[in-house]
């Protein structure tokens, strides 16, 4: 039966809009859950609230106010109510039990430190007792994300690596704390198709091997269909439909159909795309 690792109930998030001097709902009444060990995706256009939903899970969004309930089931039957946690408790959650990978690996890495130094910093932060073995551990994690020459990458500065390699480094850093939930927010949007395939296969591989649950955020419904167990389609801050692999991702709403037609472009070449 249902064994969620994350259960979001009626989440609403409001931001203050300086132009109108009023609050605006960015996420409205969103309920979604991620089954343990599953790959769940949120798909939507820019501005649909998918990233704010993802950030809210570890309370990273810093809104004007929010409402609802976010339950994190590290262990079954003993949920942690994230909305009620203090800053100190959140620290253990962020980057610890819940890890994030973002779109632009270039801006997530420090340009003046070597990749190795940055991974070691993460190791020391999560496992102070293993500080001495940090270098070894960094290499281990670089191999885990299938880096062909971990030693070289360890010595390299971020600008010496390609976009795909930088994203692997980010994934390696995210995995150090052995998180139970990995939130990947458009991790392949800035990458080429061939590299996109590699990163997606890597995530899928890690999900299977490390009993990781993945919440994947994308605007590409085609990509989401290839990997997800469940897909939540968001529009203007709300979930409009939930698609699942079991029913072949068949959709009932026109909006999901439209999104699909726009991302697959199945019509004849040079014909107008139905949107």
């Amino acid at each position: 039966m249902s064994d969620p690792i994350l259960d979001i109930q009626r989440l609403s998030v409001f931001f203050f809009m300086p132009e109108t001097r009023a609050e605006m709902p960015v996420v409205r009444d969103v309920s979604l859950s991620v089954e343990r060990g599953s790959w769940t995706s949120i798909v939507g256009e820019s501005g649909s609230g998918k990233t704010v939903t993802a950030l809210s899970i570890a309370r990273l969004a810093q809104p004007l106010r929010d409402a609802g309930e976010i339950l994190f089931y590290e262990k079954k039957d003993s949920p942690l109510s994230v909305m009620k946690l203090g800053e100190k408790e959140l620290l253990g959650l962020r980057g610890g039990r819940i890890a994030y990978v973002f779109q632009d690996p270039g801006s997530s890495l420090n340009p003046v430190l070597t990749v190795g130094a940055q991974i070691e910093e993460t190791v020391r932060a999560h496992f102070p007792s293993e500080a001495k073995a940090a270098g070894q551990k960094a290499l281990e994690f670089l191999s885990l994300v299938k880096m062909s020459d971990p030693e070289r990458v360890h010595r390299a500065f971020p600008h010496e690596l390609s976009g795909g390699m930088r994203q692997r480094v980010m994934i390696a850093m995210a995995l150090i704390s052995s998180p139970s939930l990995l939130v990947a927010d458009e991790p392949t949007t800035a990458l080429d198709v061939t590299i996109e395939k590699e990163i997606m296969s890597l995530l899928e591989d890690l999900r299977a091997k490390k009993s990781l649950s993945i919440l994947f955020i994308t605007h590409n419904l085609r990509l989401a269909c290839g990997f997800s167990d469940e897909i939540y389609v968001m529009r203007q801050g709300s979930v409009v439909e939930k698609l699942s692999k079991r029913s072949g991702f068949s959709s009932k709403t026109d909006y999901a159909k439209k999104l699909f037609s726009a991302s697959v472009m199945q019509g004849d070449p040079k014909s107008l795309i139905e949107v």
Binding site: V193, T194, C225, G226, G248, A262
Partner: protein, 256 residues
């Protein structure tokens, strides 16, 4: 042929391999040539060479039967009136301190036309499906898709024969992307223009192009009609590229 390129080469100083290492192709009038390739394959350098934004080391570029690879002065100016470009980031293509109206008027002013500019702007906005009140807005007040429409409006205001589209929809999400592609298709039909369409997104190129050219390390590794190239790719690199992009589709449900 609207454009004919022969053995075009460009190597940047300090680089071991050429960004463009001897490329030849032709583009038929009123058709679209798609160029695909990964980052660093030389596709954008090729675009810049054809636009004459950078000079080639070697090779010839012919435009409507005339060589323009060494053209300068008035000849280059006339060429540039006939060839326009739409780039990836629409915010970088527009002057942040000029209103949309002023941006759109520039080409007319450069050509010495000073009358009925407002109605010309209004017509341009209509052509790219934007309401007239956008004329008084600034780029930062527009969304990515709206900005790209303005960049397209600017390009067509010169009444070009060729538009070089370098990743024109790569920073847009899929619904907006579809709208912009539809706009480009509609304009091509109405105005019989040619497109050189560069993208790393194969689904986009498959949809837009009559002919496709695959680039790798500054060279063309395969070229052919879009239909044949996607159905039966000959070069292993092309096959690999197409597989990476087909891969996620395989798990798709039938109902969609």
């Amino acid at each position: 042929m609207i454009i004919e390129v022969r053995n075009l080469k460009k190597r940047f100083s300090g680089q071991k391999i050429a960004a463009v290492g001897g490329v030849s192709f032709g583009l038929q009038k009123n058709t679209t040539l798609g160029i695909v390739g990964e980052t660093g394959s030389g596709k954008s350098t090729l675009a810049k060479l054809i636009l004459r934004l950078i000079d080639p080391d070697e090779g010839e570029i012919g435009f409507e039967g005339r060589r323009i690879d060494r053209a300068g002065g008035g000849e280059l100016r006339r060429f540039r009136e006939k060839v326009q470009a739409v780039f990836q980031d629409p915010f970088l293509s527009l002057d942040p301190r000029m209103t949309i109206s002023d941006s759109l008027k520039e080409i007319f002013l450069l050509r010495g036309k000073k009358t009925s500019l407002d109605s010309k702007v209004e017509n341009l906005l209509k052509t790219v499906d934007l309401p007239g009140h956008f004329a008084s807005k600034y780029p930062h007040q527009l969304s990515g898709g709206e900005c790209q429409r303005i960049a397209i409006a600017r390009a067509i205001s010169a009444e070009p024969d060729l538009i070089i589209c370098d990743e024109p929809v790569s920073s847009l999400d899929c619904l907006v992307r579809a709208q912009i592609l539809n706009l480009l298709l509609k304009l091509q039909r109405e105005r019989s223009m040619s497109y050189l369409f560069i993208s790393h997104d194969l689904s986009v190129v498959r949809h837009m192009a009559d002919e496709v050219m695959v680039m790798k390390d500054g060279l063309i590794c395969e070229k052919g009609p879009a239909k044949d190239l996607f159905l039966s790719p000959k070069h292993p690199y092309t096959r690999n590229l197409i597989q990476s992009f087909e891969y996620p589709c395989q798990a798709l449900g039938r109902d969609l």
